[in-house]
Amino acid sequence: MSLIYRLKGEQPTFMHGLHDYLGEIGPFVARVRNPLLKLPMLALKSIEWSIYRWHKTPIRRFYGVKGNELIYMITNACNDRCPKCAIWERPEPRTQHLPVERFLECLRRLHQNVYQVTLTGGEPLLFKKDVMLIAEEARKLGVPMVTITNGRFLDQTFLTRYKGLGHILVVSVDSVDRDKWNEFRGTKSFDVVMPRIMLAKQILGSQLRIQSVLSQESEAEVAKVAAWCREQGLQHNIQLYQDFGTVFWRSTRTTAEMADDPVPCAARKNICIYPNGDVVKCFDHRRIPVAKEPLGNIATQDIIEILCGKHSVEVSRAMKTCNLPCKQMSCNRPQALLFK
């Protein structure tokens, strides 16, 4: 367990190694009934453990394989009022908002094992300064970042700095029709956002993505968004709608028909941080009995300790067999081998 989230990629500490060794040796020695065999068996087990340590760490380093996506739901607050999304209805109190420094610390601790950090919300750009700090830290640590926004707060300064950091920006677009857009968003934001998307396209180029939420209401519109993106030369992704607790709807069209990349940007998410710093493995965890409570909170705890805890292991097991509709977002599916 402790090897999965190493404290430092290149230099595991002595205590870390000792803990791992004792965890392996203890149960094994208890199996040896013959007292004369205890010592030789202990020696052989120690040799096996050494081989394990020797091969486990370097191979991870050589292949550079990173298995986790770190998703930070930076705020519940939003300047849109989408009727299908209830997140904006419960913005976190200012006193409960996680200080950005705590998230940066979490990122530093985990970056060896993270292939992507994703910022989402609410509307993340309500905390534009924090987004930029995280983007800069991610760049420094060599972790690719994706920010998912409604596009209302995009401006030239932000986009130029963001472009320089090499990260991906995803703008949510569920319709390219003004009336439908305003209906889906619950605000008259079409005329505000569309020029900003064009500005983002001009500045970010291939670092810009458009993402649509595919639901029963938006199904016909999403096809038009896909066509518009093709015209504009923009990459389009589809995120399947999740109602988090009620009815699940499945599109009659395949997502592949309508998107360049049918894998939702948020797929494979397995370390999620809420605005107050709570850590969960799945945004829909409240539907899994054992996972109702968060695994911990990074405002007061170390992320590696949280992820190596017993509760975390139990939740992973539950996620594997939960059979909730969000399974299609692939959180429970074993990933394919990453080396080819």
């Binding site: 999965i4 096996e48 394990y52 292949y63 298995g67 594997k320 990933q335 081998l337």
Partner: protein
């Protein structure tokens, strides 16, 4: 109706002796196999298979045990087999192995199953493998009602599971490909443990001293595959497991 698949790569006299010994134990089964596929993975050494029951498939190029087993599986599926069993050339089957595996899988509780693996040799290193459960599979904790994984030397699948979950042929050697298969399989089905289906594995140690290098090489091979393997199964790898040995081979609630 069951088919047995044996991938083999014969490169020495010892391999050949092992293979003959296995074939003899196949011949002596209380319930004979419907078919036995011996998939020769382009062995450098030529040999005869005098057993009439065995269908030999010879590959032109060496592609690893995953590819060899997949080929055997496709032949077995074509023949309409219900249960597909796997073992290795350096194993010796208990007389009732096929009978026990088939009756266990036929109960329908599990899509795949493993049996109990014992060491053939009597050295200290062999004794270590038995206590360590090196090739005896792992219980999924905390219940110990199903397996986390089972090595392919003592493994069986129902035909539908074998069709759906082939071995990943990107694994070049006999290390990790069986764990990978079990982890994928467990995303949909369960793997059971049948302690009565016994077989013995010959690790090839002549003595504790002379076998020591072989012992090191064995773990080096297994462990070097584990990091890449685990990275491919981010969620399932977090399950707690415990290797099986004589002291815990019977699940507590049976």
């Amino acid at each position: 109706m069951s088919a047995l698949i044996i991938p083999c790569y014969v490169k020495s006299e010892w391999d050949l002796r092992c293979l003959r010994r296995l074939l003899d134990s196949i011949q002596a089964q209380s319930q004979p196999f419907e078919r036995v596929y011996l998939v020769d993975d382009a062995s450098p050494r030529s040999y005869d298979v005098p057993h009439p029951l065995v269908e030999r498939i010879t590959l032109e190029t060496n592609g690893g045990p995953a590819r060899a087993r997949n080929l055997g599986v496709s032949r077995a599926l074509k023949s309409g087999t219900d249960i597909i069993l796997f073992t290795d050339h350096d194993c010796i089957l208990d007389r009732e192995w096929n009978e026990k595996m088939c009756s266990f899988l036929a109960r329908g509780q599990f899509a795949a199953a493993g049996g109990m693996t014992w060491s053939w040799g009597k050295t200290l290193l062999d004794r270590y493998h038995e206590l360590n459960g090196t090739l005896a599979g792992k219980w999924l904790l905390p219940e110990r009602k199903e397996l986390w994984y089972m090595p392919s030397l003592n493994f069986g699948m129902r035909a539908f599971a074998a069709e759906e979950f082939p071995f990943d042929e990107r694994f070049p050697t006999a290390a990790g490909e069986d764990v990978d298969l079990c982890l994928r399989l467990r995303s949909k089905y369960r793997i059971g443990f049948c302690p009565e289906a016994k077989l013995w594995h010959d690790y090839g140690y002549r003595s504790t001293v002379t076998g020591f290098l072989r012992f090191l090489r064995l773990f080096k091979k297994y462990k070097s595959s584990s990091a890449t393997l685990y990275e491919g199964h981010t969620v399932l790898m977090w399950d707690a497991s415990e290797s099986i040995y004589a002291g815990n081979m019977h699940e507590p609630h049976l």
